[in-house]
Every structure is written in structure tokens, then in C-alpha cells.
């Protein structure tokens, strides 16, 4: 009886859906107009940049919407070779890969302990981490420079984690990603059921094993989501590398773009600036478009906690 009823309801809904899909009412048209408008607003500045990247210097200073007389691919050559965009991008990839991995590892460890193991001082440590969410980083910049400089004097490992080292930057990224990561992952761990972990403990599994083999897999959606946040955040990071990496061959992409923008003023090479912008934008859009399902799914998981 019940099955029949629900079948009928489902069926009628299906029919209703089909029906409503057929007529594209005025509201739907308006909706599309609104959505298309925002699409244009989003895409056009980016496409315009791409267009300018194949223009000559004169054309860039001319009418904004004129098409280039010929495609100046050499702009890209200059951006790539003289401005080292390729090197910067590689540096960014290396730094972000290690730092995001590190962030997720130590961040989830901290978040897990803080969310599931009551002990004296737990709340204090948690608050210490979370309060970092509200710290304006500009306050810390100059002392941080000296901290990293001093880390360079630590015996043995010093040369690897001081100023002008990618490892040093990775450690700083990890530290500055802690507040956000710990805050959200603890919230996430708190929502996970305890039964499985307790059963495993009763079976004699160690705390560490429970964490790596049971809790982490369960927390996967949350981890993915926070990982994406961290990748975006660290990829876009600008002030920290600027302070900590001074050697050109160590620079990350954001520094490189800023530098080309500077150089454009000296050498009047705005076309190379647009080419460099294109080189910075395009791979991000491609990677994003390829993985957008996972990225959006990750964000979804994050939003639902």
C-alpha cells in the first residue's frame, strides 16, 4: 500500500518536472538573463586580458576593444624567458604542495586531539589556535622576518629553513594555516560518530592507529574541503613570500607578477605584463575546470560540516 502511494507521488512529481521543463517561463528567461549577465561580468575582464596579451604596446594604449593587427606571441616568450614566469610557477607548485601536505597532516593531528581528547589545557590550546583567525598578519611581518632569519642559525637544519629557502616558507605557511585548519577540522571531527573508534579501541588498536586508519578516512570529505581552501589560500599568498624570499630564483608566482608589473613601468613592456597575467591565470582556470567537480564537492562537504 505504502509503496504504491509513494510511487504515485514520485511519478506525479516526475510528470510535473517534465511539464515544467518544457515551458521556459518568463521567470526562467529572466533568471538566465541575470545569470548570463554575471557570467559576462566574470569572464570578460579575464578574456580581455587574454586579448591584450597578444597585442602590441601601441595597441594596448589604443582602443581597448580593438583587435590586434597581428598576434604577438613573442609577448609570451618575453614573459616566459625574461620574466621567468615558468620558474616562479614551478616554485609555487613546490612550495604549495609541501606546505598543504604538511598543513593537513599536523593540522588534522592537532584538530583531532583537541576535539576528541579532553585534558587540562585543551581549551586553552584550542583558543590559542583559533584566535589566530583574527590576527592581522601585518602586525607580525617584521618580527617574523627576524624569527625566520634566526631559524637560519639553528645548527644542522638551519641552512634549509632560514630566509630564502622554500622549506622555511613551507614551515611559515603551515604555521599560518593552523588557525583555519584546526578550527574547521575540529568542528568536523566533533561531528563524526564515536562508536567506530571506541570499538576499535576496545579491540586494542592504538590511538595513533585509530586516527590514521579509522578517523582520517571517515573525515575525508572535511579533509578534502580544507585542503582545497588551503591550496587556494597558499597559492595566492603574497606578503609572506615577499618578506621571506628575496632571491629571484626562489620567488613564487605572485611575486613574479608583481615584479613584471614593476618592470613594465620601467621598460614599458605592458604587453609582456598581460602575457604574464595570462600565464598566471590560464593554468589555474584549466586545473580548476578539470577538477571543478571535486573542488565543488569538497566545498560542499565543508559547508555541511
Amino acid at each position: 500500500m505504502t509503496t504504491t502511494t509513494s510511487w504515485t507521488v514520485a511519478n506525479s512529481r516526475k510528470l510535473a518536472r517534465q511539464e515544467s521543463r518544457r515551458r521556459l517561463g518568463p521567470m526562467a528567461i529572466l533568471s538566465h538573463v541575470a545569470l548570463l549577465l554575471w557570467t559576462v561580468l566574470t569572464v570578460v575582464p579575464i578574456l580581455w586580458t587574454f586579448l591584450a596579451s597578444v597585442k602590441s604596446e601601441d595597441e594596448i594604449f589604443g582602443d581597448a576593444w580593438s583587435l590586434p593587427a597581428s598576434l604577438r606571441w613573442d609577448n609570451f616568450a618575453r614573459a616566459w624567458e625574461q620574466a621567468h614566469i615558468g620558474q616562479y610557477m614551478l616554485n609555487s607548485v613546490i612550495v604549495v604542495a609541501f606546505s598543504v601536505f604538511g598543513t593537513m597532516l599536523v593540522g588534522s593531528m592537532a584538530a583531532y586531539v583537541l576535539s576528541r581528547y579532553p585534558f587540562r589545557g585543551n581549551r586553552a590550546i584550542y583558543l590559542l589556535f583559533v584566535s589566530g583567525l583574527a590576527f592581522p598578519v601585518y602586525l607580525a611581518l617584521s618580527p617574523l622576518f627576524f624569527v625566520v632569519q634566526n631559524m637560519g642559525n639553528v645548527p644542522l637544519i638551519g641552512p634549509f629553513i632560514g630566509l630564502n629557502t622554500h622549506a622555511g616558507l613551507v614551515l611559515v605557511y603551515i604555521a599560518y594555516s593552523m588557525p583555519f585548519t584546526v578550527f574547521f577540522l575540529s568542528a568536523f571531527f566533533r561531528t563524526l560518530p564515536t562508536a567506530v573508534a571506541e570499538a576499535a579501541m576496545v579491540d586494542g588498536a592504538s590511538h595513533t592507529r585509530v586516527f590514521f586508519q579509522i578517523m582520517l578516512p571517515m573525515a575525508r570529505p572535511g579533509l578534502v574541503s580544507i585542503t582545497i581552501f588551503n591550496i587556494l589560500g597558499q597559492w595566492n599568498q603574497y606578503q609572506l613570500p615577499l618578506v621571506l624570499l628575496q632571491e629571484r630564483d626562489k620567488w613564487v608566482l605572485t611575486q613574479g607578477i608583481a615584479d613584471i608589473s614593476t618592470a613594465a613601468g620601467y621598460d614599458q613592456d605592458w604587453s609582456a605584463l598581460f602575457a604574464a597575467l595570462t600565464l598566471a591565470i590560464l593554468p589555474m582556470l584549466v586545473v580548476y575546470t578539470v577538477f571543478q567537480r571535486q573542488i565543488q564537492a569538497g566545498l560542499t562537504a565543508g559547508a555541511l560540516k
Partner: protein, 470 residues
């Protein structure tokens, strides 16, 4: 204004990035520095030919600011000349756009290089370096015989302003190599083709603006709207012309009411009128490159700039453009200073670090740079005017450099300058902000000057800001 381009370029850099952070932070590294490595091991005997005792065995490390002038002049002119006398000295040539970022850590570490062209957007702060005793006293250089003539001291081959401006805390320690000459720049071709003539009086200037506007061929006037310091440069120069050089001296010395003098009011009112009537459309949002390029495309007739302009624009200037420069016109017949008065200031500042490994070599390098041959070839190559007297004589100068040199010669002693903008950056930023507003009509001339006076008073009363006098 020791170097407007330095500041405009700095602006540009600033606008582009946070790059100065690193440099500034490196600057903080100074206190942590170790005592300097001893640099005076085994002195070499000095002689008239080798006045500082340059040792053949010590390498010489040179850092050039790779900006508007590039770095080729150092590699192809200065270093070969130095080598011709000291073939055994190894010169390590380096260039960067980011002097502070690269070199400040070297100062902090106690091993700075031997010669630095401390210029450009990220030049190190001279005051801080001087305060920290990082700058070699260059007085011996002034007293040494010149490269060309043992009978003449280096001091006498230089524009006196170089010594005045390069003196920090009583010690001459910064060598300005280029004379920046400021004025209003135009295309001699455009003027000839249209029958326009460089104006001598403000009245003629207004009429010329009107004529250009009416002609419909191009806009009459523009300035780097994003960097209004280009405009207050002519405004201040004209005020000095009207009221005498003390107008600027008082401003530099933060005297009470220095900004609100009658001369300043007259000048501000006059330029505000240009802002209201004759500016190229969109000026307020354009930078120096954009406005200068517009001029190269004959979209605008005149703009205020300095003698680096021609070199800066070399890639976009049409071959027959023929840059010309005229001085700020007479406001009335009763101006305190005569027609032709110029704002000029030495710049492109070279220093020799006191704690470097080879300060003797560094000073000798500067002595070579100050030879007539080196300075002359330099002027020719980068189309500019050096601070070495007569270096451009008999050289094939480009039209703009020739025009600026002529104006400079004609000005004679009627040279004015100001330094407040390098001494008090806060005041500079306020002046930049307010001048933009003056030119777009957001501030009346009175309100404009009141605002700057208020800021100057604030700085005067702020004990934490180091004060300078001239």
C-alpha cells in the same frame, strides 16, 4: 627633488607590489649586524696617480641600478676606463632593479659591495645609512686630483649642488652623477608644424593652451595624474620664481606659514586654472608612462617632467618627434627670479660603503666616472646631463638633452630646488594626495595650502620624526 624619476618609479613599484617589504625588513636587519670586516688590511701607498691607494689584488664589486639608464653605461664606459688604469683589478659587475632588497642584507651582514648606484624605486634610505655610519666619507675624493688633469681637484669639476645635496650629517658621502633638469616638455616638431612657440610668460602660456585647445588637434596639457608630484614640481618652481628661492627653503625647514605664502597662493591658483581648463581628458587616472606615450602620439602638447624623459621614452618616441623643454614661464614682470630660472637637482646617487672590502677601489671608480671622457660618453649614451661640468661639450646630444642643457646653461645661477619630499615622506604623501585634488577641483587653492601647512606643522611637532635643515 633630488630625483623625481626615483620617486615616480618608486610609486610605480609600490603600486605594483609589496616588494619594498623585504628590503625594509632587511633594513631592520642592520642592528643585528656583526662588526664590519676589517677593510684596511695592508694599505697600498698613495700617489698622485693613485690617490686612494688602490690595491691590484683586491676585486672591486660594483652594483648598478638597472633602471631608466640601464646598466650598459657602467659595463661599456666606466669599467673599461677603470680597467685601463688598473688592468689587474677584477671588477665584479652586478645590476638590479631592487637595490635595497639585494644589498641591505649585505650591509646587515657587514660585507657590502664597493660601489653602489643607490637609485631607483627601492633605493636604500641614505639617512638611515648615514646614521648607521655605513657611508664612506667622500671628502678625499673631492680633494683628489681629477682623472683628466692632476692640476684640478675633483671638487672643481663638479656642480656645487652635488656637494650640497650629497652631504649627510656634515659629511659628503653621496655622489649625484646626473643633473636632473625640470621643465615643461613638448615636441619641437608638433610646435613647428602648428606654428606654436614656447611661451615666456604665464599669459602667453595660457594663450598657447587656449590656441591648442581651439585647434582641436590635441589636448594642451597633461601630467602624470597618478603621481601628482610631477605637477607640484612646476607649482613649487613657479612659486620660487615669484617669491624667490627662500619660498622653498622655508618649506624645507618647516617654517611656520611656509606653505601659505602669497607666492604659493598665486602659483597654486594659476595651476588650478590649468587643471580646470586645459588638462587632457582622463589625466587624473594616468601614470607618467601613459601620459608621456600620449604625448609621443601627439595627443597632448605639453607636460612637466625632467631630463630623464627622453631616454625613458626612447622606445615609443617617433623619430622626428624632437623633444624640447622650456622653463616655467614668468608669472609677471615682477617675479623675484628672472626668466629661465630652473629647478635642477643632482641625482643617480653613487655611494661607497664604508665597511666594504675595498673602499679605496670604490672611490677610485667614482673618480674614473667623473672624468670628462666617462661623463661625456655617459651623457651621450643615456641622453642626459651629467653633473660633471662641461661633460656634454662637443658631444652629439639628442634634441631633448641638448634643449635641457641649453636651458641649464642659460639659467646660470638661477637654480632652485627643494628637499622636503625626501626628508618628510608623510608630507610628500599628503602633498601628492592634495595636489591631485587641487588639479581636479576637489580643493580650492586656499584649502590646498592650508592642508599642507597643517601636515607640515604636525610633522614639526612630532618629536619622533628626525628634522633636517638647509
Amino acid at each position: 627633488m633630488p630625483d623625481t624619476p626615483r620617486f615616480t618609479r618608486r610609486e610605480l613599484l609600490r603600486s605594483a607590489a609589496l616588494i619594498p617589504v623585504a628590503g625594509a625588513l632587511a633594513a631592520c636587519a642592520t642592528p643585528a649586524s656583526k662588526p664590519a670586516a676589517s677593510s684596511s688590511a695592508a694599505p697600498v701607498a698613495t700617489s698622485a696617480a693613485n690617490p686612494f691607494g688602490v690595491s691590484d689584488s683586491k676585486p672591486l664589486e660594483v652594483w648598478i641600478f638597472d633602471g631608466g639608464f640601464g646598466q650598459d653605461y657602467a659595463k661599456n664606459i666606466h669599467q673599461p676606463l677603470f680597467k685601463s688604469k688598473y688592468p689587474k683589478v677584477e671588477i665584479k659587475h652586478n645590476a638590479t632593479k631592487e637595490i635595497t632588497k639585494v644589498l641591505q642584507p649585505r650591509f646587515a651582514g657587514g660585507n657590502p659591495p664597493d660601489v653602489i648606484d643607490n637609485s631607483g624605486a627601492n633605493a636604500m634610505d641614505f639617512g638611515a645609512l648615514a646614521q648607521d655610519k655605513q657611508l664612506q666619507d667622500l671628502t678625499p675624493l673631492l680633494d683628489a686630483p681629477s682623472w683628466d688633469d692632476p692640476g684640478t681637484k675633483v671638487r672643481d669639476t663638479l656642480d656645487p649642488a652635488v656637494i650640497d645635496i650629497g652631504t649627510y650629517d656634515g659629511t659628503f658621502s653621496v655622489l649625484g652623477y646626473v643633473n636632473y633638469i625640470f621643465g615643461i616638455w613638448y615636441s619641437q616638431k608638433a610646435f613647428k608644424d602648428n606654428g606654436w612657440a614656447p611661451p615666456k610668460t604665464w599669459d602667453e602660456f595660457l594663450k598657447l593652451n587656449e590656441a591648442i585647445k581651439k585647434s582641436g588637434k590635441m589636448a594642451p596639457f597633461t601630467y602624470a595624474g597618478k603621481f601628482p608630484q610631477y605637477l607640484y614640481e612646476v607649482l613649487l618652481t613657479m612659486a620660487a620664481k615669484i617669491g624667490g628661492p627662500e619660498v622653498l627653503v622655508n618649506i624645507d625647514n618647516l617654517e611656520d606659514g611656509a606653505w601659505t605664502t602669497e607666492a604659493m597662493k598665486t602659483s597654486a591658483t594659476a595651476w588650478a586654472e590649468i587643471g580646470a581648463k586645459y588638462l587632457m581628458e582622463g589625466t587624473a587616472g594616468l601614470d607618467h608612462v601613459q601620459t608621456q606615450t600620449a604625448q609621443n602620439k601627439y595627443k597632448v602638447a605639453m607636460l612637466p617632467s625632467g631630463s630623464w624623459l627622453e631616454n625613458e621614452q626612447k622606445t615609443t618616441t617617433p623619430a622626428d618627434f624632437e623633444y624640447g623643454m622650456f622653463p616655467v614661464p614668468d608669472f609677471t614682470g615682477s617675479d623675484k627670479m628672472p626668466y629661465g630660472t630652473l629647478h635642477s637637482q643632482p641625482s643617480e646617487n653613487f655611494i661607497v660603503p664604508a665597511k666594504g672590502a675595498n673602499p679605496q677601489g670604490g672611490m677610485e671608480y667614482l673618480r674614473a666616472m667623473l672624468s670628462k671622457k666617462a661623463a661625456g660618453e655617459f651623457s651621450e649614451m643615456v641622453k642626459t646631463v651629467s653633473t660633471v661640468k662641461g661633460a656634454g661639450d662637443g658631444r652629439q646630444l639628442s634634441p631633448g638633452a641638448a634643449s635641457a642643457t641649453k636651458a641649464y646653461t642659460e639659467a646660470g645661477a638661477n637654480i632652485v630646488y627643494y628637499r622636503w619630499q625626501t626628508w618628510y615622506l608623510q608630507l610628500k604623501d599628503e602633498a601628492v594626495a592634495a595636489t591631485g585634488e587641487l588639479m581636479t577641483g576637489g580643493l580650492t587653492p586656499d584649502k590646498y595650502l592650508e592642508r599642507l601647512q597643517k601636515k607640515a606643522d604636525e610633522i614639526k611637532n612630532d618629536s619622533s620624526i628626525k628634522k633636517y635643515k638647509r
